[in-house]
Symmetry: D2
Subunit: 106 residues, 4 copies
């Protein structure tokens, strides 16, 4: 995400004095709530979804993830790279290629 987009999200929160609502737990709830509004786009029909709705709900999830990164002073690239290192170790290419099994069932 570009710095100006990150700044816009931060300004939106601070302009409204909403930092006080952004406890990590409240943000975790919010990410789940928005993730389920996204899921609702695919509730009964997984093929014929409304792309405008998907765009909006996915954006909501992403914004709350950014709020949580900010709240906890986390660096997005750092936590993602740390997790990708774990994922790469848990899912060796030769064992997991083309298979959707969970790592403990490979």
């Amino acid at each position: 995400m570009k710095q100006e987009t990150i700044d816009r999200i931060r300004k939106f929160t601070s302009d409204r004095d909403w930092e006080k609502f952004h406890s990590p737990a409240n943000l975790a709830k919010s990410i789940s709530i928005e993730a389920n509004e996204l899921l609702e786009c695919f509730q009964w029909d997984e093929e014929h979804y409304n792309l405008d709705d998907v765009r909006e709900e996915l954006a909501d999830v992403i914004v709350y993830c950014r709020n949580m990164l900010d709240k906890l002073n986390l660096d997005e690239d750092e936590i993602v790279n740390d997790k990708m290192s774990k994922n790469e170790a848990k899912y060796p290419i030769d064992k997991s290629k083309g298979k959707s099994n969970k790592y403990n069932k490979l």
Copy 2:
């Protein structure tokens, strides 16, 4: 997110031939599932969470969001800015300052 981090996520998927599992609906389910592993960090105690767990679960949500952006050819900054424009209109500063009410109850 830096381009090299995005590339690493993409390579992880393509190395394992997992694009075929990444339907938009499956990714929506995955975002919700990971969001709830994040929520589990705050299930019974919202103050004393394990930051390492939070980092990992938040990273999982972010990675699946990136997968969905890729799958649908969406630009993260574009969809976030479009949504922020809506949010700014729905939550005027003077009406929403310091309040957590939903826009339809302001």
Copy 3:
């Protein structure tokens, strides 16, 4: 659910002195968390699920719903019948038959 099953759930909680963790908010989080463990049974393949896993995760959701009914002194039949009356009014048979549209898009 039979009264003896309800009693068993209640005894499980009280034997462990866990009522103190069962705030309505914590139970709402728990229902969502367990609902997503259920959803995980269908994450990548919606046809070939493990029925034993589905049984267990669905039971977990049901148990937390019972905990919340108890916590809030709600009668299951009463709240379900109240909601069914609303659903029946929102989804008239002639308009909704065979269609999965949300009530505001009928």
Copy 4:
């Protein structure tokens, strides 16, 4: 739940010819979606929730759980008792009393 309430739920579905939408996966998504509408009642304030909203959203979760029991021909008492037996074994009273630790951290 009383048999007449169960029958009312079944009639609601069959009157609308909605069994065709009730795949186990779609019902799992629906349980998660409704669980998160319930969670939304506690998103920013866990103490001052709207009880009418909580009643309705909890009822929605319960109705979809009933739909899934029906779809998979599961007996609610049987699956709950089977799970309670596991829970009782995983959380011995002497080790778990008064503690919210997960079983693998007792």
